[in-house]
Structures are given as structure tokens and as C-alpha cells.
């Protein structure tokens, strides 16, 4: 049970949500936006967070869109991971969504919650990073659309009170050749030791990784190395390792050495799959 009291609000529009957030924040109630709720309810029960109010965004229609509209795929932030795993427009994100938690949990987990949550894995961001998605945000000053790559640095950089509304992908990004490998300690229903995706975008190989460091990432520096045709696969791995954007995680699931070995092995396999064996 949650051992403290809180208030619950269910706005039906972005405007209502932003207004009530501002009012509650000004009243010192430390509100949180809420969607699937799995992480927030757990942390409230453990009292690692103590919000005075929750603002449930699930009733806002535009956050629930899943629609191929002309040349764009629109993914509402409140689509559940079950829905995401069953849609056929973007198979790569379906595969990634299917690997998060378990089936019953995915009936509640949302795309926006997975990206904005406090857990460090945020795995559904991986195919969005490699697809160069755009992100639609809404706040006091209205809506804004920005490249995800400019707003995602370890986590999505939201302004206070801002809402993640949608992710938008260009149709040309949806069917690229891809490679996915998710490593876990115990089995599929576990946090990832290393979750890597590779995507062939014309002549460029894009890579994004979760679980290896304390945050998910796509690195321009690493992509320069793995796209350098003058390097062998082994040289690419060695140079990429030096360019990792943070310390490698070491915890009860796996040591840093183990995670590094997995990542290096998978990177070689991914390069072989995407480009054929190199010298």
C-alpha cells in the first residue's frame, strides 16, 4: 500500500494538464505526471518518492495516437508497450517493446513512461534514436517539436511541467535493415545487461545501446568509427570501447568486465550481420 495521501487528477486536454500542474506546483504539492503508473506506484509504496498529487495523462486523446499519417508515423506517449509490440508499422520498436518487462506489465507500461521514467534503461528510446525521431512536447508556452537527438542526453530534457506528447518518425526510417541483441542474466523478464540495436540507414550504420552504461545512448563518435571502412571489425571494437560515453555499469546483474565483453562480442556480430565479414 501507499502509506501517505496524495491527490489524483485526470485532465482531458494538454491545456488542462499544464494548468493543473502549474497550480499544484505553485501550491507546493510536487505533482508528477502519471500514465501507466507502474514505476510511480512502486516508488510511492517504497516511499522513495512522495508526490502530493498525480496528474493522469491517459485521458488526453493526442497522447494515445498510433497513426501512419502520410509520410509520418505518430506514436502517442501513452501507447502501451503491448500495443507498440503488436503494431506492424515499425517492426524494430515492436521487437524492442516486446523485450521490456513481461506481457501483463506491458499492458500498462507506456512509451512515454518508459522514456521518461527513473529506471536507467529506457529501452524504447533506442529505435527512436536510430530513426532520428522528432519529439512533440507541450508546456505553458504551447507545443514544440524538436529533434529527439537534441533533447535526449542520458535522459529526455523536459522543462519543468512539460509533457511528452508524441514521437514522430519519417516513413523512410521504418523498414531499414536492423539487428537487435538483448542480453539478460536470468531470462527475458529481466533488466538488460546490454541491449544493442543496429540500423542500416542507406550507407550509414547507426547504433544505440542500453544497459551498458548508466543511461542509453547513441554516439556520433562511435558511429564515425564503426562506419570507417578503413578499419577492421576488431579495430572498430577497440576504438569504440575507448569512446563509450560513460562508465560501464557494474551491479548484481553483471560486472563491468562482463558487460564490456558482451558488448564487444555483440558489436562484432552486429558488424558481420550488417556488413558482412570485414578484414
Amino acid at each position: 500500500m501507499i502509506p501517505f495521501d496524495l491527490e489524483y487528477y485526470a485532465p482531458e486536454s494538454i491545456k488542462e494538464a499544464v494548468v493543473i500542474y502549474t497550480e499544484l506546483a505553485d501550491a507546493g504539492k510536487e505533482p508528477l505526471y502519471y500514465a501507466g503508473g507502474t514505476e510511480i506506484v512502486t516508488f510511492c509504496r517504497q516511499q522513495t518518492i512522495k508526490p502530493g498529487a498525480l496528474i493522469d495523462l491517459k485521458g488526453i486523446a493526442e497522447t494515445g495516437l498510433l497513426e501512419l499519417d502520410g509520410e509520418k508515423l505518430i506514436l502517442g506517449a501513452n501507447i502501451t508497450l503491448s500495443c507498440l509490440s503488436e503494431q506492424g508499422h515499425f517492426p524494430l520498436i515492436a521487437d524492442v517493446a516486446r523485450s521490456v518487462a513481461d506481457r501483463t506489465a506491458r499492458n500498462r507500461l507506456t512509451l512515454g513512461g518508459n522514456i521518461c521514467g527513473r529506471l536507467p534503461y529506457r529501452e524504447t528510446i533506442l529505435p527512436l534514436l536510430t530513426a532520428d525521431a522528432e519529439v512533440v512536447l507541450a508546456g505553458r508556452d504551447g507545443h514544440r517539436t524538436e529533434p529527439l537527438s537534441e533533447l535526449f542526453d542520458k535522459r529526455l530534457k523536459l522543462e519543468k511541467g512539460e509533457i511528452l506528447v508524441q514521437l514522430i518518425l519519417a516513413r523512410k526510417e521504418l523498414g531499414n535493415k536492423s539487428w537487435v541483441r538483448r542480453r539478460e542474466k536470468h531470462g527475458p523478464v529481466d533488466y538488460p545487461l546490454c541491449h544493442m540495436i543496429g540500423v542500416k540507414k542507406k550507407d550509414h550504420l547507426a547504433v544505440a545501446v542500453s544497459g551498458l552504461c548508466a543511461f542509453p545512448f547513441r554516439s556520433d563518435e562511435i558511429e564515425k568509427v564503426i562506419n570507417d571502412s578503413a578499419l577492421s571489425a576488431q579495430e572498430k571494437v577497440e576504438k569504440s570501447t575507448v569512446l563509450l560515453p560513460g562508465a560501464i555499469r557494474s551491479d548484481e546483474l553483471g560486472s563491468d568486465d562482463y558487460r564490456l565483453a558482451l558488448w564487444q562480442k555483440d558489436l562484432v556480430e552486429m558488424l558481420e550481420y550488417m556488413e558482412g565479414a570485414e578484414r
Binding site: 496524495l6 489524483y8 512502486t42 498525480l54 501483463t104 500498462r108
Partner: protein
């Protein structure tokens, strides 16, 4: 805008009945079902979303009631294991001994019911994927798996 700021009387639709109950906005559905509605089929296991012992159906989809606020489900339909009396899956669990200590049974049974609704025929990978949502500390997975196969046979004979 719907809001709940303190203890409030709400109407919940549970197993086809409208039930009036006073809830705190912070009450989880699991606690309300068990402690205020007397429906103790859904079990508190980990209360962390890992074990699946608290699984109920929310508008037909299995969810973990320990991770949902009761106020969220006002206007929606909840089915607990008590609402699955005399179903094929209940008969099959009995026939196949799909339980040992029984603590996980209600969660497995509810999840399996939803699985059979979505996949009436053996679904291979989907069966495995759905059942990964629940844990059995007694490791009685063989009996549970047989119960699902048997339930499919019962349903086929009923059609």
C-alpha cells in the same frame, strides 16, 4: 476534469456488479479489492509488479492490481478470479492439478483466461510470453501448462 483529493465514495464495476466503496486516491486496486470489497482472490505477493499473483482483468486485459490506483478504474470493468467461476480454465486447473500451494493460482488463472480469449488455439511463443508474467514459487509450471492445453480442449468441445 475528474479529480479525487480525499477519501471519496466511488462506484467500481467488479465481476459484473456495481460496488460502492470509499477509497483514498492513494489506494491500490489490490488493497481495495481485498480489504474493502472482500475479494481476496487477487493475492499480494511482491506488490512490485514481479510475481503476478494480483493479476486481474481490466476491460478484458490482464493487469497487476498492485500497481494500479483504484480511482483510475472508475468507469472501467474489473474481473477478478472470483468472476471466473465455472469457466473452462477453472475446470482445467482442477483436472490437471495446476497448483501446489495455490498462492499463485488466481493470478495464473486470470492471466490464462485472458490468454485463451485472445488465443483460443495453441499459440506457442505467445503462450510462453503471456505466462512469463506470473511466478510459481513451487515451480508447478508443468501442471499449469497442462491446464491451459486442457482448457483449450474443453472450450473446443463446448463450441
Amino acid at each position: 476534469m475528474k479529480s479525487y483529493r480525499e477519501v471519496t465514495n466511488v462506484i467500481l464495476s467488479v465481476n459484473g456488479e456495481k460496488r460502492r466503496v470509499a477509497v483514498r486516491p492513494a489506494d491500490t486496486l489490490l488493497r481495495v479489492l481485498r480489504e474493502k470489497l472482500g475479494l481476496t482472490g487477487a493475492k499480494p505477493g511482491c506488490e512490485n509488479g514481479d510475481c503476478g499473483a494480483c493479476t486481474v482483468l481490466l476491460d478484458g486485459l490482464p493487469v497487476k492490481s498492485c500497481l494500479i490506483l483504484a480511482v483510475e478504474i472508475v468507469g472501467k470493468k474489473i474481473t477478478t478470479v472470483e468472476g471466473l467461476k465455472n469457466t473452462a480454465i477453472q475446470q482445467a486447473f482442477l483436472k490437471e492439478g495446476g497448483f501446489q500451494c495455490g498462492y499463485c493460482t488466481s493470478g495464473f488463472l486470470v492471466n490464462a483466461y485472458a490468454l485463451l480469449e485472445k488465443h483460443p488455439a495453441p499459440a506457442g511463443e505467445a503462450d510462453r510470453e503471456w505466462l512469463e508474467s506470473n511466478l510459481c514459487r513451487c515451480t508447478g509450471y508443468e501442471g499449469i501448462s497442462r491446464a491451459i492445453d486442457t482448457a483449450r480442449e474443453i472450450i473446443k468441445q463446448q463450441i
